[in-house]
């Protein structure tokens, strides 16, 4: 806010200078007419301001409290009290959230079981919700039990068999949840022959898989496994399978992942 613009100020603006929202659908016409009557009874001074952003010199775009605009227009007012807010994405989003016109979204990556259940309950209670009938206690418990940190979308929920199926139900979640998956992992280390790799080289590759939680390796101890492999007699190995017999939590499925980093 500065002395040379109107940001943060309550301004009485000509209605002609304000562009209304193009997506807002006001409640029934009788409510608008009654509200317009109430507005005219108090000399047309709207005490609830329209929230606007300045889009260019002497031009404003309604951001939220759209009902106020509709009523003022219906009442035939030529000017309207508006609060001018900063013209930036997060500021506009915040104003819409605070006005209750937009539901704030919850980060499912980190949400607690209780929050997940509250959100699911809220979504299920909306008229015509596709989540009606979903047991929110079960669904929330199963989702919360999962490691959600690497989820790129909501599809892993389908596999949890918690009543949320692919399609409408899953899509509904996007209205209230978002995910903040970690950035994609950096380039993997180059592929190396398991027979010739040093302990350090084996560690480097296992550590990559562990750190970035690839192929279930997040439970593997890279230091322990690299030591075991490095000390094994690898000269006659014909595959990576001997690793599965080293009692180090690496099974046949994990060997598949290892094949991306090790050759024979």
């Amino acid at each position: 806010m500065s002395d040379f613009d109107n940001v943060g100020q309550l301004m009485c603006l000509p209605l002609d200078d304000i562009l209304p929202a193009d997506h807002y659908s006001a409640p029934s016409r009788y409510i608008i007419a009654a509200a317009a009557d109430a507005l005219l009874k108090t000399e047309g001074h709207n005490w609830i301001p329209l929230i606007v952003e300045e889009v260019e010199d002497y031009k404003y775009q309604a951001v939220t409290n759209h009902f106020v605009y509709v009523v003022a227009a219906h009442a035939g007012l030529e000017e309207l009290w508006c609060l001018v807010i900063k013209s930036s994405g997060p500021d506009i989003e915040q104003a819409r959230i605070l006005a209750g016109e937009v539901t704030p979204k919850i980060d499912l990556t980190t949400a607690t079981r209780e929050t997940i259940q509250l959100v699911l309950k809220h979504l299920g209670s909306q008229p015509g919700s596709s989540l009606k009938g979903v047991d929110t206690t079960i669904a929330a418990t199963r989702i919360a039990a999962e490691d959600r940190t690497t989820w790129q979308d909501f599809t892993p929920i389908v596999k949890l068999k918690c009543g949320i199926t692919k399609g409408k139900k899953l899509d509904t979640l996007a209205a209230a949840f978002y995910l903040s998956p970690p950035p994609p992992p950096p380039e993997p280390p180059s592929t190396i022959s398991i027979k010739q790799a040093s302990e350090q080289e084996i560690f480097e590759r296992l550590n990559y898989l562990t750190t970035h939680k690839i192929g279930g390796f997040d439970t593997v101890d890279p230091e322990k496994v690299s030591k075991l492999v490095a000390n094994a007699n690898r000269s006659k190995w014909k595959s990576l399978n001997p690793i599965t017999k080293m009692d180090c939590e690496i099974d046949a499925a994990k060997v598949k992942t290892l094949k991306a980093l090790f050759t024979i």
Partner: protein, 456 residues
């Protein structure tokens, strides 16, 4: 018009280009893009002061005058610097750097030279930075900020400079302001404006002080459409607020009416300026500038008289101006300190918001002072302290704003002073500016006008 591949032009400039390289690899393209072909440019243009030459001068040819042959009446001068000196050290033209200040002063000198009289525009550039200056009589104001050129912005930067050059503005907007009262702002405004009017300049005065001193002193009344209403209502025509100030001279048999200047008077709506009023002024203190835009090509000078204190009216006045003229009183130390605040705080704040290089502060002057004596010495000592404090606090050199005649090797601490007689006599003008009644006072103010504005 020839399309210029600026990426190729920039790529062809040696990274360690010296002045000559910039002159060869950049300036011809720049001048071409600004609309001056090869016959419309002249290198090493003599300014008429000793052996002084500006690197380039330019003007569009007319039917019988090819500029590169006649070298008459240039409209643009270009001062080139290298990216590096011949000795290999880099040249930094970032606004505020010492090399920038030196280059800026150099182009000012050229524009004020005998051959610079017709020049309306000055450019400084080293091909990494560029700035355009506007020349209005004796005043040189930035027309853009000093812009860093890159492959990404160069086309837009040069096209905006071209647009400015093609739309030469007639007027200069001057705000008369000091954050301290009692320095004679209104008296200065009225008498300076009258003096410029006697020199055939078309002048508009804007009384943007809610106390309405200027309006009252001239015996004027606002029209039906008032300035305060125009601030709020964009459908009103600001031209309708203008009231001409005329002087009636009664000779023995007949009376003659002279139009001196135009005034936009202050009105009661400004005195009754409330929170509710302010809520109707879109763009807040930036609004006055928009209101005065229609006049910038109709008048030679627009003077804005504003109140003391950094409030809506004075903020608007400074924001709307190209330059700020700061009267002080030598025996009012607070007026000197407040003048420093205008230069240090308020002008930079507005400059930052405007992003077009303006406004700039003109050096201060003493209003109503003796030319020397103990009191003047004391004022100089106080100014020395102010300059020292600003240097220590923010490394800002205020010396040019207080002692504009200081040049390297010559500590000349002269401050322009308007003699006491002029201030006292003109302070009590009765509906007629003192300069129009007293020859001596007219001479004093003419000296003030020549010091700051008239380029004769």
């Amino acid at each position: 018009m020839v399309m210029i591949d600026w990426s190729a032009v920039l790529a062809n400039i040696p990274p360690k280009a010296i002045e000559n390289d910039v002159g060869t690899h950049f300036i011809p393209y720049l001048l071409e893009a600004l609309g001056f072909d090869t016959t419309e440019r002249a290198g090493q243009f003599a300014t008429g002061v000793g052996g002084d030459c500006v690197d380039f001068a330019a003007r569009k040819n007319t039917a019988d005058d090819v500029f590169s042959f006649t070298r008459n009446d240039p409209v643009l001068m270009v001062e080139i610097k290298g990216r590096f000196t011949n000795a290999g050290s880099s040249i930094n033209l970032t606004e505020g750097s010492s090399q920038y200040v030196r280059t800026r002063e150099q182009i000012k000198r050229y524009l004020l030279s005998p051959k610079g009289k017709t020049v309306q525009w000055g450019i400084i550039t080293n091909s990494t930075h560029i700035q355009l200056f506007r020349h209005h009589d004796k005043v040189i104001v930035p027309a853009t900020k000093c812009i860093e050129i890159s492959e990404v912005n160069i086309e837009a930067v040069i096209s905006s400079i071209k647009k400015l050059i093609e739309n030469t503005v007639r007027g200069l907007c001057v705000c008369v302001y000091n954050n301290k009262g009692g320095v004679g702002k209104t008296t200065t405004t009225v008498n300076l404006a009258s003096t410029l009017a006697t020199q055939k300049k078309k002048v508009l005065l804007v009384d943007f002080d809610s106390q309405r001193d200027l309006t009252t002193a001239l015996g004027l009344k606002p029209n039906n459409i008032k300035l305060s209403e125009c601030l709020k209502d964009r459908t009103l025509d600001i031209r309708s607020t203008i009231v001409p100030y005329k002087l009636v001279q009664n000779a023995s048999k007949s009376s003659k009416v002279y139009h001196v200047f135009d005034v936009i008077p202050a009105d009661l709506g400004m005195e009754a300026f409330t929170q509710d009023t302010q809520a109707r002024v879109q763009k807040a203190s930036a609004r006055l500038r928009d209101l005065l835009k229609p006049f910038i090509n109709e008048y030679d000078y627009i003077f804005i008289d504003c109140p003391t204190q950094w409030v809506f009216f004075s903020q608007s006045g400074v924001y709307a101006s190209d330059t700020v003229l700061i009267p002080t009183r030598h025996n009012d130390l607070s007026s000197l300190h407040n003048a420093a605040r205008v230069v240090q705080e308020f002008v930079p704040k507005v400059k930052e918001l405007r992003q077009d290089g303006g406004p700039i502060a003109l050096p201060i002057f003493f209003n109503g002072s003796p030319s020397d004596g103990r009191a003047i010495d004391m004022a100089r000592e106080e100014i020395d302290e102010i300059i020292g404090a600003a240097k220590a606090a923010s490394n800002l050199n205020l010396a040019p704003y207080f002692f504009p005649r200081i040049v390297p090797g010559n500590i000349d601490k002269t401050v322009f002073n308007l003699p006491e007689y002029a201030a006292v006599s003109s302070g009590a003008f009765a509906r007629v500016p003192a300069v129009l009644k007293h020859k001596r006072i007219h001479e004093y103010y003419l000296a003030l006008a020549r010091e700051y504005f008239l380029n004769e």
